[in-house]
Amino acid sequence: MSKQSLQEPTFLILTALAAGAQHGYGIMTDVGQISGGRVKLRAGTLYAALDRLAADHLIEADREEIVDGRLRRYYRLTPPGAQRLAAEVERLRAHTAVAAQRLDLLGGLT
């Protein structure tokens, strides 16, 4: 498993799946909501990321359903994926705490 920090889209995908298994379009929508509309995933980018996360065993296929005649696959977070996300959250939390403290010292924190 990579020890490098997660890229934002990857972090948001894992965050979306932390709430439960979702299909591709659901993940796209959820990522948009979590990021306040700032991060917009397109289908190709999303599935390349899902393929990579599956290869790294951070997510896995949960189930498949037929909806409107199309096969829809749901993905879920794996235990290693949850651990990876938790580690990233702690890392970001530590960084933001230091940044907030220093801004406070500067008198610039609102």
Partner: protein, 293 residues
């Protein structure tokens, strides 16, 4: 992917946008060429592609230098002709220098984009895109197009120059330069001894490929990859002149079925290989039930 695209389509939207289409193709390429971790032979081919991504521009630079020197010698004393050839020589040398620089700087994706742009420019400039205008289908044209296509594939499907430069040692660079110089120097053989030039070129290419086949498994894979543009090099200088009346003739035989078959044979073989590789990949990586794509 397509299911997600269709689910997210606006009311009344019938076609995907340009950005969506480009993103779909890019995502599919990333998925297709992502390194597999199943211990298959793919890593060995990726190393071969990485070496090719460095060696191919170098081969062309050496060959271009020798051809240009020969051309300038021929045009000496003819300033008007020199001026006519100058723009294309400047364009080609600039393209090669840029590609070599990007490779040495290990800028894999940028080099692939530049190679893609060069391929498009080359195809439109030579009329290759003007199907079915058969008279433009010179093997030399196909050789350059094949080399650019191979370079793009090598850059996209491998770790690229970063890995290639790790593998290559000074003796490999020396061999590349010697082989390219030997093959390129056949242009210095006078036209009156055209048969000698053809035999020399075929011999040099055959010896180089035979040597590569004997050295190692990696060099055998590199040999297989380089055989694609080398096929057109040999076809243009050696085979076709012995099959039809003249290499530069627009007479009968030049646009005939034999020439067309010989020209498109490797492309057909590549297509079959690509389909077989894709089918093999699908069988090994997609579980029963298909994908949400």
């Amino acid at each position: 992917m397509l299911g997600v695209l269709m689910t997210g389509a606006r009311a009344g939207q019938r076609l995907p946008g340009l950005a969506e289409s480009a993103d779909l193709i890019w995502g599919a390429m990333l998925i297709r060429f992502r390194p597999r971790r199943d211990g298959s032979a793919w890593p060995a081919w990726r190393d071969a592609l990485a070496v090719v991504s460095v060696a191919l521009p170098l081969l062309f630079l050496v060959r271009f230098s020798i051809n240009t020197a020969s051309l300038l010698r021929t045009l000496q004393g003819h300033p008007a002709l020199m001026a006519a050839f100058a723009p294309s020589l400047i364009e080609e040398s600039a393209a090669l220098v840029i590609m070599i620089a990007l490779v040495l700087l290990r800028l894999r994706r940028t080099a692939a984009l530049v190679a893609g742009a060069l391929l498009i420019w080359f195809a439109t400039d030579t009329g290759l895109a003007g199907l079915p205008n058969w008279s433009f289908f010179e093997p030399q044209v196909f050789m350059v197009a094949a080399a650019l296509g191979l370079e793009i594939a090598a850059l996209m499907a491998s770790p690229g120059p970063r890995r290639g430069l790790q593998i290559l040692a000074w003796k490999h660079y020396a061999l590349i330069v010697v082989a390219a110089a030997a093959a390129g120097s056949t242009v210095w053989i006078p036209e009156t001894a055209f048969s000698l030039a053809r035999i020399s070129l075929v011999t040099i290419v055959a010896l180089t490929l035979a040597g590569m086949a004997l050295v190692s498994r990696l060099s055998r894979r590199i040999m297989v990859l380089l055989s694609f543009p080398l096929y057109y090099l040999v076809l243009g200088f050696a085979v076709l002149p012995s099959v039809v009346q003249s290499a530069y003739s627009a007479e009968s035989g030049w646009s005939g079925p034999l020439r067309i078959t010989l020209t498109f044979l490797p492309l057909g073989a590549l297509l079959v290989l690509a389909l077989a590789a894709a089918a093999r990949t699908v069988r090994h990586t997609v579980p029963a039930g298909g994908q949400d794509a």
